[in-house]
């Protein structure tokens, strides 16, 4: 096991791969840190160094990145269902590193359509199935599974390998996630990150207004499908309501603040605004 000093020296040297070391060996070691409850190993070293090597320095060949995907993808989902357990770190950070590879793919285009779709399906599965939604954990740092998965979906949404049917599935996954029964209220920017995924889809300009309207009406349907039995506070209803409300608001504000959005999305924005009425006092 290489020591903290070794990795800190790499950071201090601008994240450059040290001479006389094997990229492959160091990468395997860094990836082994992704599940560490120690945030220095997981985040400061594992994530930060891999991020530079993948995105900034572009050290990896397509074959090496395929091997990384092979390593990361199963680990993102194999302990799914665990709750309130340190296993969330590995799942969530696998999603995060996969998002960097998806980002890299948008730079250099090495994934086939089939490979991209496989990754999308796994990311969708992971988003809706992950139950451990804790964001920042005292003493241990970020878990942030929802935000990390959103990053992965965002970069996948920009991939030219995905067509409008893929993008619709992606959008539906987000609606599935937000309307799934939970008592967890996101309050670490997950709403903004998920809205960014939708913004990436909107910028593709490949979904038409009818598809977008049908999608956003799923949230209205959820609201109208809730039968209020009495005035008792229902933590599950409240959490879902709050998550949807924050998400739709983030989306609306991001659209308002965007420099430009496609025409179809402009019509969709009017629909979104109407739905926001029922999520406002």
């Amino acid at each position: 096991m290489t020591d903290h000093h070794f990795w800190q020296t790499i950071i201090d040297n601008g994240y450059v791969l040290p001479e006389d070391h094997s990229l492959v060996d160091l990468t395997l070691e860094l990836m082994s840190y992704l599940g560490a409850p120690d945030s220095a190993l997981r985040d400061t070293f594992g994530y930060n160094i891999l991020a530079r090597w993948i995105i900034i320095y572009g050290y990896y060949t397509p074959e090496e990145m395929r091997a990384m995907i092979e390593w990361l993808s199963p680990r993102m989902i194999e302990t799914l269902g665990d709750y309130d357990s340190d296993t969330v770190f590995l799942r969530s950070y696998c999603a995060l590193i996969l998002s960097l590879i998806a980002y890299r793919d948008n730079q250099i285009g090495f994934l086939s359509q089939a490979e991209t779709r496989t990754l999308l399906d796994k990311a969708r599965h992971y988003l809706v199935t992950e139950r451990d939604l804790r964001a920042y954990i005292p003493e241990k740092g970020w878990a942030n599974s929802c935000a990390h998965t959103a990053e992965l979906l965002k970069f996948l949404a920009r991939s030219g390998q995905l067509d409008s049917a893929d993008l619709l599935r992606l959008m539906d996954t987000i609606a599935d996630k937000l309307t799934t029964d939970t008592q967890y209220i996101f309050n670490h920017d997950e709403d903004e990150r998920l809205a960014q995924v939708v913004m990436s889809v909107l910028r593709r300009d490949s979904l038409n207004m009818f598809e977008l309207t049908a999608w956003v009406n799923r949230f209205k349907d959820w609201k109208q499908g809730q039968v209020k039995l009495n005035d008792d506070f229902n933590p599950s209803y409240h959490a879902i309501y709050q998550n949807i409300k924050n998400f739709l608001r983030s989306l609306y504000c991001q659209m308002q603040l965007a420099a430009s959005i496609p025409i179809e999305a402009q019509d969709f924005e009017i629909e979104l605004r109407e739905i926001l009425r029922i999520f406002s006092l």
Binding site: Y136, W142, N187, F233, H238, C253, L257, L276, S280, L281
Partner: protein, 278 residues
Amino acid sequence: MDKAFWQAVVDADYALPTGYSVGQLTPELLGFLGSADVEVRDPFGYTILAQWMIRDGHYAPEDLRAMRDQLLLNLQAGLGENGTDRVFLRSFSMVILSLIVYRDNQIDFFRADEVRTLLEHTLRYFAEEKDLRGFVPNKGWAHSCAHTADMFKFLGRSLKTQTSDLERILDSITNKLTLLGDYVYIHSEDERLVSAVIEVLKRGVLSADVWMVWLERFALWKQITTFGDFSVNVHAPWLNCKNFLRSLYFRLTLTPDLPAPAESLGLKTLDIIKNFGL
């Protein structure tokens, strides 16, 4: 305490039970406001008092004044504590006080100086209340922030508050939201505070300049606050401000017939939200 007795009152649509006077029963109801029992504080204490005060008008001005005096004392009980059951008495005393002001807005019995004294107490309470829990599992609502927001709403609506009073309400909301701390409001406190702000706006007495300066404080807070490594004490006020500003923005743009500055305030709010985004 006889739950069956009080449940019968609820079941009888809050009719005063035969053989009893309001004066006999009210002290016990006021006592319920501090109960940690979810079946007592809210459905009996709050709801029955509210029905008797607002719907049925059972209380004379001198009754309401006596009630006010007791409730103001209650606000001090354990003020500054966090996580204890005493928050229930403080918070529910505040919400009943807000109803007394609501009642004054209906029937006009307070002198202006009495309303402004209530404002003073409310401002102090809001600044000093540290227990911000909304819904407490197994014990029900505490919701001190939302209850104080309700008070601000009715004070904002009262014609006995003046321009400077309204400015102080707005400032105290900003003070509360920008206070460093670890509590993220998740039970619609943002919306309740916005309701108070909208009432102040509807008064139509604050100039557009005052509103702009007030909004600018949020931008300024964001600008001067250091966001380094994640710190919950910075994250929480940041998110509280952001959620409040978003609720404000949507209310300003979705509410019909607001006074003139509403439109420019909406634009300004959106502009500030930009600084609070990702």
